[in-house]
């Protein structure tokens, strides 16, 4: 049984002021297996949050099916789920400990269990010492940690995170990444959404690219961004390199004091390298070029725009 199965979801929203309907989901489908880390990727407005709201039962889709471990969305499924919304808002007059206690009550834990679990999770997310402060005074990073803690209270089999790393400092992002990996090791299924593709690249087993309410591509990282056969990239540093790079080969990218040159095969690499050494340029790295996820992503966006253009 799939952990989560989403089939042909359609959802329209009627705007408050306008009479026109906005189609948030247009036949979205994807599936997660148990124990996977799955990334739902898409630009802003693609329908990621709406999809998640369908998963937790906040939004009822107009058409389509959702199954979570075989159950439809609702309190039954939520028992085995943990959810962290984007930019979460909690009851700010509660302390972290009180919030976790309350969530524990909703999960049906008795007092002893609740206390123990709260303490355990506060430690796990690194909030011991701050657990009795009101949430109002928490920084964004701390709120995210609390959010993860509350999502984990009920020992969920599936964790759903909406843009878990947005707005976090590097320490925070690192923490979330580590947590996800730890959870995966423990067998938890993790579904998260992001528009930051590098996160997905690092963490996900599989991804789906959601654009304008429809999943355009779904598959493993390897399927979407296969390695090999695409040449190599040389990275060079220094102002001199930037000026002379074009002599070595086609320039792929110039960023932050580094220049990247493309070389089609190993022979080209050797030639470029020789030339670089001749010119006295500093070579930083030579790596096989993978069609990055970003490219796959941009491809899909372009394709979607073309389709739309054809339609109108």
């Amino acid at each position: 049984m799939a952990a989560i199965s989403v089939r042909d979801l359609v959802k329209d929203f009627r705007g408050e002021l306008s009479l026109r309907r906005r189609r948030a989901l247009d036949g979205a489908s994807f599936e997660l297996g148990r124990g996977e880390v799955f990334g739902l990727l898409g630009p802003n407005g693609a329908g990621k949050s709406t999809t998640f709201k369908c998963l937790i039962g906040l939004v009822t889709p107009d058409r389509g099916r959702v199954e979570i471990l075989g159950d439809p969305p609702g309190p039954q499924a939520n028992r085995r789920l943990g959810f962290l919304p984007e930019q979460p808002m909690f009851y700010e007059y509660l302390s972290a400990r009180e919030l976790l206690d309350w969530v524990g009550r909703l999960h049906g834990l008795d007092r002893v269990e609740r206390e123990r679990r709260a303490r355990e999770l506060l430690e796990r997310v690194g909030l011991q010492g701050a657990e009795d402060q009101r949430l109002r005074g928490y920084s964004k990073g701390m709120l995210q940690r609390v959010g993860l803690a509350q999502a984990l209270i009920g020992w969920p089999e599936i964790l759903i995170l909406d843009e878990p790393m947005s707005g976090l400092d590097p320490l925070g992002r690192h923490f979330v990444r580590d947590l996800i990996l730890e959870l995966r090791r423990a067998g938890t299924t993790v579904l998260f959404s992001s528009h930051v593709l590098s996160d997905a690249e690092q963490l996900c087993d599989r991804v789906a690219i959601l654009i304008r309410g429809r999943v355009r591509r779904e598959g493993t990282m390897r399927e979407l961004a296969p390695q090999g056969g695409r040449g190599y990239e040389l990275s060079l540093a220094g102002p001199e390199a930037q000026r002379r790079a074009a002599e070595l080969g086609p320039v792929v990218q110039v960023a932050a004091g580094e220049v990247q040159i493309h070389a089609a095969d190993e022979a080209a690499v050797a030639r470029a390298l020789a030339r670089a050494l001749e010119l006295g340029l500093a070579v930083r790295a030579i790596a096989p070029r993978r069609r990055s996820l970003e490219e796959a992503f941009l491809d899909e966006i372009r394709r979607a725009q073309q389709e739309e253009g054809a339609e109108t």
Partner: protein, 256 residues
């Protein structure tokens, strides 16, 4: 329907409501009027206790009703506005439990209010006359039933609109509910579409005057048990209906 979860939500709602400033304004005003009635009663000629009881019962009823309506208006609406609802709904709670939890929390607060002011009023009457008057509790009891009904309405509105709009609708329900005689007169005087509208309003909205036995209590007129029982039954049945309606409709609501 798990009572433990309903209780958890109710407690949180209660705690949240204690932070609403309007609550303290209402309690303060209510208490002030009850205590001030002692002074005002000195100005009248004749039965001085009457004005203490009139003002006191009016304060209790009005304060209780306004707390129910205004705090209830924000009970669900604020969660939607502040997006704390997302976390709540991701938990294993049913919509019905949310509605009942919110209702219970607001009701507990409103009834606590009514009870406190009732105590204050009896204390004032004791001070004045040397004995507390148990009949006042009958009028207050019926006001409490009115509070239950108003809380149900407030939660209904709160589930489907903003705090401000819910408050306005709630106050409207209160005013129209007490305007019952006027509606009857109006029905006789208007025609066509307007008459239909008035008729619909009388059928749909409760007649809140049925919970008003203040005049009878103050003048020591007879209060047949059957009538009291009917009023209480009417109030509770109506409240149950509104709650069920709220749960049914809330189940189908999607939240963008």
């Amino acid at each position: 329907m798990n009572p433990a979860r309903i209780a958890a939500i109710a407690q949180l709602t209660f705690r949240q409501a204690l932070r609403e400033r309007v609550l303290y304004l209402l309690i303060g005003a209510g208490s002030l009027f009850i205590v001030a009635s002692l002074a005002i009663s000195l100005l009248t000629v004749g039965d001085e206790v009457k004005i203490i009881m009139d003002l006191g019962l009016a304060s209790v009823a009005l304060t209780g009703s306004l707390v129910a309506l205004l705090v209830g208006a924000g009970s669900v609406a604020l969660e939607v506005e502040r997006r704390t609802l997302l976390v709540l709904f991701s938990k294993p709670v049913t919509r019905g439990e949310v509605v009942l939890g919110k209702f219970s929390g607001v009701l507990a607060l409103a009834l606590t209010n009514v009870a406190s002011l009732a105590l204050l009023l009896e204390a004032v009457v004791w001070w004045r006359t040397g004995a507390a008057d148990p009949r006042l509790l009958i009028a207050i009891g019926l006001s409490a039933v009115e509070v239950v009904l108003l809380t149900a309405f407030a939660v209904l509105f709160s589930c489907f609109s903003s705090q401000m709009v819910s408050g306005i609708f709630g106050l409207g329900t209160y005013l129209i509910g007490h305007f019952a005689d006027g509606l009857e007169l109006l029905q006789a005087k208007v025609e066509g579409g307007a008459a239909l509208l008035v008729r619909i309003l009388t059928l749909v909205l409760p007649n809140l005057e049925r919970f008003n036995v203040r005049a009878e209590v103050v003048h020591r007129l007879p209060l047949p048990d059957a009538q009291l029982a009917l009023s209480v039954g009417y109030g509770l049945a109506y409240s149950g209906f509104i709650l069920l309606l709220t749960i049914l409709l809330f189940r189908r609501r999607s939240f963008a």
